[in-house]
């Protein structure tokens, strides 16, 4: 099947209902017609500044109306959008800009503040920077052209006539890699269009829906929310204040949201610290959950506390699969708690033995997926790509088994990854950071079960001498180098790390230490 460029989803919704509200953020509403016009203006500006089909343009912004207009504007210029995480440290985003070879950077002034020169100096591929508003204090290298929204406002609102093919690169999303360095997941227009169609085949999303968005758009689950709702002409209600869950609940009431998408910690925090299950939300009809396994206890609590009209969809996916791979049909959830369900329509999700044969029910194997949504590979990294993609099959690294009905339950993760809140965090990146500290002999980092986060990060550190290091010293070092969500919640000093006969650290033994 041929797929259209992903930005056609916006144009088609704007053609159908230009006056319908696409985005609400605080007191601001943006219609589909306005979003279409704003994205067209940026596309013209980027073309005028020399951006061409196949170029990469990075986007650094918090969720908001600007983010969405800029995302589609970059795609309409023919470029691929490199989605940067605004929570990343400057040094990380500088590395990712270099790694992606981005020719352009579109950023919100609030996200870059005084750091813009540090971010762009030395970026040999970068030719242009666009922000919402200039700052006279910024001094950029002469080869980098600068523009802001005043310049974009002079550009035409008509859609630029740029040819984009379904196999063109659409988006690069960076995820934590098992090697410690972020890897760029390359997704084509076809990958994202296919996954959008696959999701809409099982999830009841319509033009009447208003979804509350607390997940960042630079994250694959957030991006899939954006694309599915734009595809049907629904409304996205953006609230970036989830740290204050009661404020978010108030938004749900005031904006009459019909659905909410969250990771397990979203629901854990809503249930623990708000009146979520006791608040009258007469318009709510659907909750979705992905981004890690939700505890059976929390699933049961939601099922018991929600009115019958509200459907709960438990889902599973990976950035490498554009977003979504599996779901539990909501009517079967009460009997399938703890399962990630079955492959979504259009995705073949199977449990395989090491020899490639399919497992029998009850037998543990690796989850392997095939579908038009599977990424092309990791950006400029054929070796890492070959580890996960083989003959068109995505090896997820998750271990699971079928039950007698063919539903899959995940039992373990093969990769050295921690799922903290919504974030996939490579243990090695944190270990490498702590190992830089003088006085650290060795270190190992694991995820331990946590009621709110799913997993919390714990670091086991062997100091050169007892009492030669403090927890504060280690955390201060990490805070300077890692995003907040990668900071260990607990540092444990130990005399030695448990090792196998081959000298390999046995992380399962470390996990037992945390249970004491």
């Amino acid at each position: 099947m041929n797929h259209r460029p992903i930005h056609d989803l916006l144009t088609e919704s704007a053609d159908r209902a230009a006056d319908a509200v696409a985005l609400t953020h605080g007191q601001t509403d943006v219609t589909y017609g306005e979003l279409e016009a704003r994205s067209n203006r940026l596309a013209h500006l980027l073309r005028d500044r020399g951006v061409r089909r196949g170029d990469r343009v990075a986007l650094l912004a918090e969720n908001g109306c600007d983010y969405v207009a800029n995302y589609f504007g970059i795609l309409k210029s023919g470029a691929c959008c490199v989605s940067l995480n605004s929570q990343n440290k400057l040094s990380t985003n500088r590395e990712l800009l270099t790694d992606s070879g981005a020719v352009g950077l579109v950023a919100r002034r609030a996200q870059i503040r005084s750091a813009l020169p540090d971010l762009v100096n030395g970026q040999s591929d970068l030719r242009l920077v666009h922000t919402d508003q200039n700052d006279p204090a910024w001094v950029l290298p002469p080869q980098i052209a600068f523009s802001d929204d005043n310049d974009a406002a002079q550009c035409p609102t008509q859609r630029p006539d740029i040819s984009v093919a379904e196999h063109d690169l659409c988006t690069i999303l960076y995820t934590s890699g098992s090697t410690g360095s972020p890897r760029g997941v390359t997704l084509t227009h076809r990958n994202l269009a296919a996954n959008t169609e696959q999701i809409l085949a099982y999830l009841p999303v319509t033009a009447e829906d208003s979804v509350l968005v607390v997940l960042p758009f630079h994250y694959s689950y957030g991006k899939s929310l954006l694309l599915t709702h734009v595809a049907v002409g629904g409304r996205l209600v953006i609230d970036n204040r989830f740290a204050y869950p009661q404020a978010v609940l108030k938004t749900m009431v005031e904006q009459r949201v019909t659905s909410l998408a969250g990771v397990p910690s979203t629901y854990a925090i809503l249930c623990a610290r708000t009146e979520f299950l006791r608040t009258d939300l007469p318009h709510l009809r659907c909750l979705t959950q992905a981004g890690g396994a939700m505890s059976p206890a929390l699933t049961r609590r939601l099922l018991a506390g929600l009115p019958d009209r509200v459907k709960l969809f438990v889902m599973y996916g990976q950035t490498e699969a554009s977003a979504r791979l599996a779901y539990v049909p909501s009517e079967q959830l009460p009997e399938k708690i703890g399962s990630i369900g079955i492959g979504i329509p259009g995705v073949e999700l199977t449990v395989r033995r090491p020899d490639g044969g399919e497992c029998d029910s009850g037998e543990v194997g690796e989850l392997v997926a095939r579908g038009a949504n599977i990424m092309r590979g990791y950006w400029n990294d054929p070796a890492e790509t070959a580890l996960v993609i083989e003959d068109g099959l995505l090896h997820t690294g998750d271990l699971g088994r079928y039950d007698d009905d063919g539903f899959i339950t995940i039992v373990d993760r093969a990769k050295n990854m921690i799922k903290a809140g919504a974030n996939r965090v490579g243990a090695k990146e944190i270990e490498d950071t702590i190992a830089e500290i003088e006085g650290v002999v060795e270190v190992s980092v694991i995820g331990v079960p946590d009621e709110l986060l799913g997993e919390a990060i714990e670091a086991f550190v062997v100091p050169v001498r007892p009492d030669s290091l403090t927890e504060k010293q280690i955390l201060a070092h990490c805070r300077d180098r890692l995003a907040l969500y990668k900071l260990p919640r607990v540092i444990r000093f130990v005399d030695a790390l448990p090792k196998s006969s081959a000298g390999k650290i046995v992380k399962a033994e470390l996990a037992k230490l945390t249970e004491r």
């Binding site: 204050y244 009661q246 610290r273 907040l484």
Partner: protein, 83 residues
């Protein structure tokens, strides 16, 4: 120690690990400036409940009460005044 100093030192010790430079002003949004995240807000609430003997209701978990040193000082003072 004065209330404002207690709150400032808690934030500096527990979220900035001794580095005072990011906390450039008492009016600064802790969330927008990357000083705390959503888990940090819950830790802050636990600290206020234990060290300041407060009971914080769910509907008080809003930025107007918690998102800067100024707001925290006003919030704690107000809570104590009504006890």
């Amino acid at each position: 120690m004065e209330l404002r100093e207690q709150i400032r030192s808690y934030i500096i010790e527990n979220f900035l690990f001794g580095d005072t430079t990011p906390l450039t002003g008492d009016e600064l949004s802790l969330l927008d400036n990357g000083i705390i995240d959503s888990v940090g807000v819950l830790e802050l609430v636990a600290y206020l409940e234990s060290d300041h003997a407060l009971t914080i209701e769910d509907d008080e978990l809003v930025p107007e009460n918690l998102d800067s040193v100024d707001n925290l000082v006003k919030f704690v003072a107000r809570k104590h005044s009504v006890v």
